[in-house]
């Protein structure tokens, strides 16, 4: 499996480039999910009735702020993309910092926490979208996707990006955990030796 090969290759410096590439991908996926859902808004005018001969129109807006699950989705995706950006910065510019085991451990734990965060956010938004798309006749909740099609489409795109982010974060977390067992410094300027003797 590709994942086990990635994990086994964690000891080589080629894995550093792989990890960096994965982090860039995860950063872009979660950031695009947050942005697409954050700008998700649709306004439509419906005819709700007739007064005599003139139709009565009402304007309805579908915004992501109406649903707490989507708000959580946007916030969590923003947090995970910020975490990835931070890790990329540490990866690229952290060569001069002292390389201790605490750094590896904190990276691994933060990656694990962010994996759970992004999977929770993506799943909550997915189930709420399912109720919005299909409705629920037991609870008598009408579906809204037939009326606000663009809103639903944009939401679906954001969800796909978030689920891609979930898979990428899982692989990144597995690689970070495996690097705990075989630590090595991921920088080209390795003038200083690691402070912990293996």
């Amino acid at each position: 499996m590709a994942v086990s090969k990635l994990v086994l290759a964690a000891t080589s410096t080629k894995s550093c480039k792989v990890l960096l590439g994965l982090r860039v991908l995860a950063f872009s996926a979660t950031l695009s999910a947050a942005i697409v859902m954050g700008l998700n808004k649709e306004t439509k005018t419906f005819v709700v009735g007739n007064v005599g001969n003139t139709p009565v129109k009402a304007t309805f807006t579908a915004k992501f702020q109406h649903t707490p699950a989507f708000v959580f989705f946007v916030v969590a995706n923003a947090m995970v993309s910020f975490h990835n950006m931070l890790m990329i910065a540490v990866h690229l510019f952290g060569g001069k910092m002292e390389f201790t085991s605490f750094r590896l451990l904190s990276v691994a734990i933060l990656d694990m926490l962010n994996v759970t965060l992004i999977s929770a956010a993506a799943n909550a938004a997915a189930f709420i979208s399912e109720v919005g798309k299909n409705g629920n006749k037991h609870a008598r909740w009408d579906k809204i996707c037939d009326r606000f099609a663009t809103y639903c489409d944009h939401g679906a795109g954001a969800l796909i990006a978030a689920f891609a982010g979930v898979v990428l974060m899982l692989i990144i977390s597995a690689i970070s955990i495996s690097r705990l067992a075989h630590p090595n410094k991921c920088s080209s300027s390795t003038a200083a030796t690691p402070s912990v003797v293996p």
């Binding site: 109406h66 759970t116 999977s119 929770a120 799943n123 109720v131 909740w141 009408d142």
Partner: protein, 164 residues
């Protein structure tokens, strides 16, 4: 001596997580209430909502997995695999809890903008039991986060422990 307390701590945590996940499953599966609203009769069961079905399935998987790992011998080579599986199970738990809470929140407060009315006013006992199941799921999740860090500590053995 340290190894024995480590193993005992891991076993206690895993047994507690198994009990919590099992409690969540039982609480949600046995929640069923009939209420009559004038001539309409509403039966609320957990399988009406897809998120609750996912919650039950995920917690069943978690409790079966915990029960099996409880009996894994100490010298087995599968412990490294258990770390990866613990991470995936934690992801499963948090995603199922998050989805169930999101849908339960709509059931309790409704969504005025979408025209969805809350249902908790008509079936209060059902709502209370669902709340209890979600709390048990949250306890299982917290225990599994501790277990995950614990498994990494005891299996991968980061340098943080080997202070010279």
């Amino acid at each position: 001596m340290v190894k024995v307390t480590q193993r005992l701590g891991g076993l206690v945590l895993r047994f507690a997580a198994f009990c919590a996940a099992l409690g969540a499953v039982i609480a949600m599966v046995t929640s069923r209430e009939r209420s009559s609203f004038f001539v309409l009769s509403l039966v609320a069961k957990y399988s009406d909502l897809a998120a609750f079905k996912y919650f039950v399935i995920a917690n069943v998987i978690v409790s079966v997995y915990s029960f099996l790992v409880l009996f894994l011998p100490k010298e087995s080579l599968l412990w490294k695999f258990v770390v990866v599986l613990d991470l995936m199970v934690t992801m499963l738990l948090t995603s199922s809890l998050s989805a169930a809470v999101a849908v339960a929140q709509v059931g309790k407060r409704g969504n005025a903008n979408a025209g969805w009315l809350p249902i908790c006013g008509q079936v209060p006992r059902f709502c209370d039991q669902i709340t209890g199941a979600l709390i048990a799921g949250l306890v299982a999740l917290i225990l599994y986060v501790f277990l995950l860090i614990f498994s990494i500590h005891s299996v991968v053995d980061p340098f943080l422990l080997r202070k010279s």
